[in-house]
């Protein structure tokens, strides 16, 4: 076989395809994949919202509900600090929601400004990964996870108020010990995956542009 014969052999695939497709399976498969994609995107969005914000909101609603119920029943003497604590909780949640929204907008901005070619698509993905990596240690990143920590401390505040004992900041800070290590482990795991993606994208760019 010479080069021309090779091209001729290659073209036979257009007349006699390599495979037949079972259309009914493809029709089933494409919407199925679509649903998988939607679920994956949904997990990302709702994971942060409900994992941190949603849980914190529900948690604070329950503990402060208990506190104010106890106050209304006369079991606990009301204090202005209860409202300050509630204000801190609501403020943290609002700040966190704002930080998350700003982060999503910034991420979308990073993904713009690229063309349609495969190289541009790789660069777009690389920019997304770089943006995610750049968020480590940023205040906005910390703010997104702050509601859990604040909810922990405020829960401790409510428990102390219900028990009638004086508030102990040291014990309140200790509740962070349950939250911070989990966040650190998750961050390190996530970072490792992002770095693997980064290496891979850079490798592909290197293959496209060997001179660079």
């Amino acid at each position: 076989m010479n080069f021309d014969q090779m091209l001729e052999t290659w073209r036979t695939q257009d007349k006699a395809p390599l495979y037949g497709v079972r259309r009914e399976l493809l029709r089933l498969g494409v919407p199925g994949e679509q649903a998988d994609l939607d679920r994956a995107l949904g997990r990302d969005l709702w994971g942060v919202y409900w994992g941190t914000l949603g849980t914190s909101v529900a948690w604070l609603a329950v503990v402060f509900g208990l506190l104010f119920a106890a106050i209304s029943w006369g079991d606990v003497i009301p204090s202005a600090w209860d409202y300050v604590a509630l204000g801190i909780g609501i403020g943290t949640i609002l700040l966190s929601a704002g930080a998350y929204r700003a982060s999503r907008k910034r991420q979308a901005l990073y993904a713009r400004g690229f063309g349609n070619s495969i190289q541009e698509e790789i660069r777009r993905n690389l920019a997304r990964v770089d943006y995610q990596l750049s968020r480590y240690g940023r205040l906005t990143s910390l703010l997104m996870y702050a509601p859990m920590a604040v909810a922990g401390i405020l829960t401790f505040w409510v428990i102390v108020r219900l028990s009638g004992k004086p508030f102990d900041w040291l014990h309140a800070a200790a509740s962070l010990l349950f939250i911070v290590p989990g966040w650190v482990v998750w961050s390190l795991w996530f970072k490792k995956h992002l770095l693997a993606y980064r290496r891979r994208f850079s490798e592909l760019l290197g293959l496209l542009n060997p001179g660079n």
Partner: protein, 169 residues
């Protein structure tokens, strides 16, 4: 765009250009299960891309671009999970192979599989007769870069053809 309209265009495109997806799936998937998985992923991405298609390029060029892009991303995913699945595992019967294979075609795909992922894309485009300009637009690299790479791929293929000229090929 209405879903029914998108479905209609998808059916039309698949009818006319599914050979592109077969070729890319065959070139990038190591096993039959991998090829089915990749074919399905590419079909999904083609379906998604319909709305973004503005008619600035030929449909075949567009589909090639979407397919190659998906194949490169799919390879990344497979690597992340370690390696491709075994042939019989998870094969859904989506793709049905003909009873007989042309051994020469098999030989070409084996040579393509030996190339790195980017050169594999270029080899497919070259064999399907795309111009350097089209390849440059699809991959986003300069035409001169395409030329250098294509010349190397051709030289490799010609050398391998010469080496095997005494065989039954």
């Amino acid at each position: 765009m209405l879903k029914a309209e998108r479905d209609r265009i998808f059916e039309e495109w698949m009818e006319a250009h599914q050979a592109i997806l077969f070729k890319v799936a065959r070139a990038y998937g190591a096993t039959h299960a991998d090829r089915e998985d990749l074919f399905q992923q590419m079909a999904l991405q083609v379906w998604h891309s319909i709305e973004a298609f503005r008619g600035e390029a030929a449909v075949s060029t567009w589909i090639y671009q979407v397919a190659l892009n998906t194949a490169l991303a799919w390879n990344r995913k497979e690597r992340k999970h370690g390696q491709g699945r075994q042939d019989l595992e998870a094969a859904t019967g989506l793709l049905v192979s003909p009873a007989s294979h042309d051994p020469r075609l098999e030989w070409i795909y084996q040579r393509i599989a030996e190339l790195d992922e980017v050169n594999r894309s270029l080899a497919l485009l070259m064999l399907d007769g795309f111009s350097y300009r089209d390849m440059s637009q699809i991959l986003g690299i300069s035409e001169s870069n395409v030329g250098v790479k294509i010349n190397r791929i051709k030289a490799t293929l010609v050398a391998q053809l010469a080496k095997e000229s005494n065989d039954e090929l």
